[in-house]
């Protein structure tokens, strides 16, 4: 009797959106607490930790990703309005954009192209499939936009989301060291490089170095998002026409 009831409850839970939604929020609040306790160690980034927890849970309970997504799609949906909301921090950096607009624009356009072309060609040279190449191309911009671009150019949005997080973590860990080795002193330059390469995760790291580096990294992240969304679909078409 009791066992049958339990099975029934499990059948209900595994099909209901309630479960996916709840476990996502639980995993996130746990991961967020660890992240803060570790003083924002990029290796313990909340997305990395909560995704690992959730995947382990789904595999252990033999739950399919589709069943999980029926619940978590409500969180996923908010990516849209969140992308729109990025206009506001960008607008707040307006006075800085006006001062340095020419160097920033040139760096933005060339940096975005280098980020996409290098990942496409390196992975292609090493034998990655076209879908993987396209999923890698937008990896340097913030996840909601990268996923949208990935879908547009024929990549896999969920693979892109994971690659975006990995790129951000790598950029945050290696970025400050590399920039230090390059003997760069100007925090605005360091911030711009960090923001183009490692989006929000890199920006969080930049804020730990100095508030100036953080502000410029945030600015670069927003502008790179913009630039990539406009350039990448055309760039991919142009590259594609040679193959």
């Amino acid at each position: 009797m009791a066992k049958e009831n339990l099975t029934e409850i499990w059948v209900y839970l595994s099909a209901s959106p309630l479960t996916g939604l709840t476990i996502t929020l639980m995993a996130y609040s746990f991961a967020h607490r660890i992240y803060q306790a570790s003083n924002s160690n990029p290796l313990l980034h909340p997305v990395l930790v909560s995704a690992t927890l959730l995947i382990s849970f789904l595999l252990l309970t033999n739950t399919s990703y589709e069943d999980y997504f029926t619940g978590s799609q409500y969180i996923h949906f908010i990516l849209g309005p969140a992308t729109v909301a990025l206009a506001i921090p960008m607008y707040q950096q307006m006075s800085k954009i006006k001062k340095l607009w020419l160097p920033i624009m040139v760096t933005m356009i060339s940096g975005v192209c280098v980020a996409a072309i290098s990942s496409i060609f390196i992975s292609r040279f090493l034998g990655a499939s076209l879908e993987t190449q396209m999923s890698l191309a937008p990896k340097s911009v913030t996840a909601p936009v990268a996923m949208g671009i990935s879908e547009k150019i024929g990549g896999l949005p969920s693979l892109t989301a994971a690659l975006v997080v990995i790129t951000g973590i790598l950029g945050a860990i290696m970025g400050t060291k590399i920039l230090h080795l390059l003997k760069l002193k100007d925090h605005s330059i360091k911030g711009i490089a960090m923001g183009i390469t490692a989006h929000g995760i890199g920006t969080a790291r930049a804020f730990q170095v100095s508030s100036e580096m953080g502000a410029f990294s945030g600015l670069a992240m927003a502008l790179a998002t913009f630039t990539t969304a406009f350039i990448l679909p055309y760039l991919v078409k142009w590259i594609g026409s040679y193959y």
Binding site: P46, V47, I78, P89, Y91, S123, G127, L184, T197
Partner: protein, 148 residues
């Protein structure tokens, strides 16, 4: 209520973005176009409404949460990762290093080339930028009404 108002504005812009992208068959994701539209609106308006500010702060303060469902989706691609882990790993690491060094170098060169020290007068530029944007919008509105 303030939060709801702000969210409504964000969703309205997203709706406009999605419709425009489909209508004009643009290669940009709908929310990105909406972000640009909102940015231009803010520049024209000259300030951020408090409702929009509060909703944006709430949503953006936990941006990480929003990409967890998609991040978990990597479990669907385990097979692909097994087959292509080498190109993926090397491409991500190398491309990250290249992008970082390249952007820093370009920014440094541009700063030296044009001797940008950030001392340029700000106010007059601001006025002309806002003016030209206003003109642009006026022209756009005129053009639109011509077509309509």
């Amino acid at each position: 209520m303030i939060f709801i108002n702000g969210l409504t504005i964000l969703l309205l812009y997203q709706l406009m973005g999605e419709v425009t992208v489909r209508w004009l068959d643009l290669p940009v994701p709908g929310p990105v176009l909406a972000m640009i539209m909102l940015f231009i609106s803010l520049v024209v308006k000259g300030s951020t409404p408090s409702s929009l500010q509060s909703s944006a702060n709430t949503i953006l303060s936990h941006l990480s949460l929003l990409f967890i469902p998609a991040g978990v989706g990597i479990m669907v691609h385990f097979e692909r990762l097994q087959n292509e882990w080498l190109p993926i790993t090397i491409a991500v690491i190398l491309s990250t290093v290249i992008t970082l060094i390249f952007s820093a170098a370009v920014m440094l060169t541009m700063n030296k080339l044009f001797n940008f020290s950030g001392d340029s007068p700000e106010k007059p530029e601001e006025c002309s930028a806002v003016k030209s944007l206003e003109q642009l919008q006026k022209e756009l509105i005129e053009n639109e009404s011509d077509h309509g």
